[in-house]
């Protein structure tokens, strides 16, 4: 079974994003970039499926800038077999555009399952997986905390508003992964070295023929209002008194 795993290069999750003074966007110059944490989880899951003999080939794909090759190398070092960069240059594509590009990649690769992070921690849209499933007319199982693939079906336990839900989807399907699915491994040094020799195809964005025209115009990116500084209280009794008399919330 072939598994396609989309990965995105984003600001490292430990770094606090800073807005540019001219409000044109978030300043990413000289900022540490990493693989989107949810995508690490989907790569890990694909590798575990391969280790169990369920997956036969893992193809990692990124739609992004030239530097996303580093992110793909990380996926290869974790255990992906080969990688595809759809080079979008400096364009920041909207989720619908990314989904359309991925649809074109799916048409070329014919995977039986797409394992995708539920959300990227920059745009916070939580949309590409669902959009890809819609464009392909495939079933979707979002926010997975457990995945079983067998007999042409995916049995997926999902994190929903009130707890957990289990669905069974016919393959091919799109599964978006949530935090509790697994704990991603660190790539070992030998595997990082091996990853350098694994195939990584670079395709120009235009070669896929997807409609990537932006639908939204970003007017500005501003800092959120800051909370006024608080005070330290001396004791639990002091705290309760202040909550009653000063804050009026008790």
């Amino acid at each position: 079974m072939k598994v396609l795993v989309p990965v995105k290069r984003v600001i490292d999750y430990n770094v606090k994003a800073r807005v540019k003074p001219d409000q044109s966007g978030v300043d990413l110059a000289n900022v540490k970039m990493s693989m989107n944490p949810f995508d690490e989880i989907s790569v890990e899951e694909a590798v575990r499926l391969k280790e169990k003999g369920v997956a036969s080939e893992i193809v990692a794909v990124s739609v992004g800038p030239t530097q996303a090759q580093e992110t793909l190398r990380t996926a290869l070092a974790m255990g992906a077999d080969r990688a595809i960069l759809v080079d979008a240059g400096a364009q920041d594509l909207e989720p619908l555009a990314v989904a359309k590009v991925l649809k074109a990649v799916v048409a070329e690769e014919n995977p039986e399952v797409v394992l995708i992070g539920k959300q990227s921690i920059d745009g916070d849209n939580n949309a590409v997986g669902q959009m890809l499933a819609a464009l392909l007319d495939w079933p979707q199982a979002t926010f997975a905390s457990q995945i079983e693939l067998a007999g042409g079906k995916a049995k997926v336990t999902r994190e929903v508003d009130g707890g957990l839900q289990t669905l069974e989807a016919d393959l091919p399907a799109v599964v978006s992964v949530d935090l509790r699915l697994n704990e991603p491994r660190y790539a070992s040094l030998p595997n990082i070295m091996k990853a350098k020799k694994k195939p990584l195809d670079v395709k120009p964005l235009e070669s896929l023929g997807a409609d990537v025209a932006p639908r939204l115009k970003v007017l500005k990116v501003a800092e959120p209002p800051k909370r006024a500084g608080g005070v330290k209280v001396e004791s639990a009794a002091d705290l309760v008194m202040k909550l009653k008399n000063e804050a009026g919330v008790l």
Partner: protein, 310 residues
């Protein structure tokens, strides 16, 4: 101009996030209709008809809608969307599951998790875990939007809209519901609670989480939340998670116990009116957003707090 709001409900009753999404719809302008899709959901539809300013309520019922299958919602909402300029859904787990599927089928962008309606085409939404606020303008004739409920006031009661039944879509062919395990709790719902008590990694075990956090929550009439670290470690169930990728809450009072305050956690609670942090590490980042910080070990501080509350 007409706006369709997809209701958040449990068939028997309507969630407060629906009232808040109706407010966002009213800020966009035009007639506002509410779609209640579920199974045996008449009571929820009746509740929606009582929201002030709602023109009509559409009620669609089938097993698959009741199970929340995104494919069923696609079959229902995509044809309905022909009569509307915008489709709004609360940005709950369910809203996030179904709305992008509908947007892609309509070939429009989704404007995700809006916190402000500037005008009918312009919206503000948090990005980068809420560390930046993006103002976006849409030129599209039809808009698909998810709404962060905590950013809008609930539309009041006082309406008397008619409830109209609409045909349920065909059952999705390629996906089926197997089962669900929902957490039952007598406490208020986390997303809409006036007070939230959350526990973090410092609690150290599920037993300790229950021993310390739950009685404090019950004393305050609060909902219980947790940091990602506490949920990952199995101290609390997944639907307790407050943060960038969990639930976003904005209660009157948020009490963080043993939570260090990672960026991702702050993203889910920093719009709370009053924040209290109890942590033994005086340098914990949670203190930077806390209105009242108590530097103390929770093991002593929480029992003292229980006593002081009387």
């Amino acid at each position: 101009m007409a706006v369709l709001v997809i209701a958040d409900h449990d068939n028997a009753s309507l969630k407060d996030s629906t009232h808040k999404t109706v407010s966002a719809a009213q800020a966009i302008g035009g007639d506002v209709d509410v779609l209640v899709a579920g199974q045996n959901a008449k009571a929820a539809a009746e509740a929606a008809s009582k929201i002030a300013g709602v023109r009509k309520v559409l009620l669609a019922e089938s097993a698959e809608l009741g199970q929340g299958l995104a494919e069923a919602f696609e079959g229902l909402v995509v044809p309905l969307a022909a009569s509307y300029d915008a489709v709004l859904t609360p940005a709950t787990a369910q809203g996030k599951n179904l709305s992008p599927r509908i947007a892609a089928k309509l070939d429009v962008a989704q404007i995700s998790d809006i916190i402000e309606v500037v005008d009918a085409n312009t919206f503000v939404r948090p990005i980068y875990a809420g560390n930046a606020l993006e103002t976006v303008q849409s030129g599209e004739a039809k808009k698909v939007i998810t709404v962060r409920p905590t950013a809008f006031k609930a539309a009041p009661e006082g309406g008397s809209a008619s409830v109209e039944s609409v045909a349920a879509p065909a059952a999705p062919a390629k996906i089926r519901f197997v089962d669900q395990q929902l957490v039952k709790s007598a406490r208020p719902e986390l997303a809409g609670a006036k007070i939230v008590v959350s526990g973090g990694r410092a609690l150290g075990s599920a037993e300790e989480f229950q021993r310390v956090i739950e009685p404090l929550a019950d004393k305050l009439g609060a909902a219980v939340g947790a940091s990602r670290a506490a949920v990952d470690a199995g101290y609390a169930p997944n639907d307790y998670q407050v943060g960038q990728t969990g639930k976003v809450v904005a209660p009157e009072l948020y009490v963080a116990v043993g939570i260090s305050g990672a960026i991702q956690h702050l993203a889910g609670m920093k719009d709370s009116k009053v924040i209290v942090a109890i942590n033994k590490d005086p340098d914990a980042p949670i203190f930077q957003v806390a209105d009242y910080g108590l530097v103390a070990d929770y093991k002593n501080a929480v029992p003292e707090l229980m006593t002081a509350l009387g």
